[in-house]
Subunit: 426 residues, 2 copies
Amino acid sequence: MPSYINMSAAEKNAELKKVYEEYKHLKNMGTALDMTRGKPGFDQMDVSDNIFNLVGNNTGYKNCEGTDCRNYGGLDGLIELKHLFSQIMGVDHSQIIVGGNSSLNMMYDTIAQAMTHGFGDKPWLLQEKVKFLCPAPGYDRHFGICEYFGIEMIPVENTKDGPDMDEVEELIKDESVKGMWCVPKYSNPEGITYSDDTVRRMAAMQPAAKDFRIMWDNAYAIHDLYEDGDTLLNIYEECVKNGTEDNIIMFTSTSKITFPGAGVAAEAASPKNVELLKKRMTHQTIGPDKLNQLRHARMFPNFDVLKQHMRSHAVILRPKFEAVLDEFEKELSGKDIAVWTKPKGGYFISVNVLEGCAKRVEELCAKAGLKLTSVGATFPYGCDPKNSNIRIAPSYPSVKEVKKASEILCCAIKLAALEKLTAVDN
Amino acid sequence: MPSYINMSAAEKNAELKKVYEEYKHLKNMGTALDMTRGKPGFDQMDVSDNIFNLVGNNTGYKNCEGTDCRNYGGLDGLIELKHLFSQIMGVDHSQIIVGGNSSLNMMYDTIAQAMTHGFGDKPWLLQEKVKFLCPAPGYDRHFGICEYFGIEMIPVENTKDGPDMDEVEELIKDESVKGMWCVPKYSNPEGITYSDDTVRRMAAMQPAAKDFRIMWDNAYAIHDLYEDGDTLLNIYEECVKNGTEDNIIMFTSTSKITFPGAGVAAEAASPKNVELLKKRMTHQTIGPDKLNQLRHARMFPNFDVLKQHMRSHAVILRPKFEAVLDEFEKELSGKDIAVWTKPKGGYFISVNVLEGCAKRVEELCAKAGLKLTSVGATFPYGCDPKNSNIRIAPSYPSVKEVKKASEILCCAIKLAALEKLTAVDN
């Protein structure tokens, strides 16, 4: 494919005309697609349908310890799920709290607790300034929590190995930097997995703030698209080696294993942190929905069953990811107008278009009936300084729809690039 | 029955000896009963067993609006349940937020939000002093929330009509008094329902603090033991008449309708407050477990079905309450050593024994194998200043066990009273 950058002015104008005709054609097809969020599709949710047969109808309501899961009690969740999450999260089951349907809620609560009660130091709300490191692009809802609590967000560049650790190591010398958001495996939105070196440096960090916490959102811990998925170093073990295990709180959930709205979330931390978190929880709730936990415990009696289950998701998701990547390869490769990631798992593909063009791409797509995640949403304060990053969430539509969406997207990327490049010429 | 108070010293000593023999006999029976918490019994939970057939197995996952309840979305809950809770809570369905499995969690979140973001004024954590009125005896978990957040609790005397409103009206002149806990119907632990006059005076309150909130925990809104249960005036309507509707936030749940651990909770408030609460929630969660909400919506297609369902609970609970009250009548009536409530609903009976005797009663019961709610737990900071109040939770044990428990309790009350009365004499 010829690079758009190296084209003559005449060639660019000719290409613009051609791509514009393509765009007009696509626009007239009456497409109506929503790729704004990383929602699993119907077919994926159907994979877990058997879960409804596992509680009720003479199956009994007791877990392996004899607890009637219908009644009150059990603040930190069922033992079976602690063991299961222990294998997902790589810490001892005693360090796990199994919660309700939302890991986001657990993260929110953790920050809220820090605001009013601190983490061994003054409540963050009573400290002069609280800042958080935000590898960007990242997960908009993480940034939303910071914004709600008035925590100043400092964007950190992402490399192919995770956050730029030189930058991070410099920034944590500031005592008002109290934490950092991380999606360490198949990151949202880039699908990057932190390298061993990144994890080791992160575990070795000695932040100036004694109440610094890494918010380790391992949402896609076992969400591989291929058998040879990425591997993530066990950060907790690395932290223990460095004596920094109190610096990290880890989260995950089954939202993208069973049901987005009715899964089970978990958090894991050092014994000291778990004690703190549980102390708050005794005032917050009598306990999570143990019946839904019981459903999950019976659905996944061991880790192998869970891994097999995830293969069913991969079978559904893989063609959707490949449809996007194939179209990118076909339409954008060699043109020097876009750089994209090729994740081996997770829920997103990230593409960086020419600087200043992302919003125009979003607009062109919208006009052609394709709704994308709002440009900027993946950055602190909703602002992508380069106006370049686009998050693609291919999970919800069908493969056919994803193909159509990719066509529209590629066309819009080309069109926006040519508009920019020809405008520069004129 | 002869009054213990009017007995001669010799009569008291003889009675003490007799009651002590009774106690020894009961102690030797090897009873092991737990009446510490207001937990529904197995038989009550079985009443809702059909709920498990209502989602899954070809029943579909969509609600009346076509939402697939398995997926993300729906921050404030399903419309069907908003309509159902609207009838329980007496406000328009648009003012209702349907949540997860815990109304306690919703209350905690409301206070937590006030601490960090306030209610239109400065965040409570940044205000010099925050106080809460706590009608006592009351619900220990309400007081626990205040304690956790460092909110100073001011006990308010309960009358047979609810909190002493003369006292309340005086106390709210203090600008640092920011709110008040209320269990207005079949209160925990006394089973009292606020009189119309109490509700009207409460709705008419003009607290000095502009960010004052009544935390209206209507946990037992439809939990009658008898057809002619208590009726509670609609406080929201009274508030609207007074223009004080922003002063109140209301809570309820199905914890004691379906399952304590896996019910559905709801909160209701003025449009202005609902907007504030939802703003926080957008940062806190993507949404509640809609599948469990759907189960409930299908279980209770209308209010009549729900009311009929509650009658099944009443049939189970009534004999347990009556077993306690019959034993009280038989053993304590006329002795001038105990005053108890006779609730027409709810989960608790409250008995006031002679001042200074409650802890001794608790101890005597424990030694005879009956665990009671810890004395003092129903008061702010866990301290009953008169050491007199005992909360009885008859729902969990069987009728036979409740009878046995009541025997032990009455015997312990008599024994503790006689110990006190004879000690005074000696």
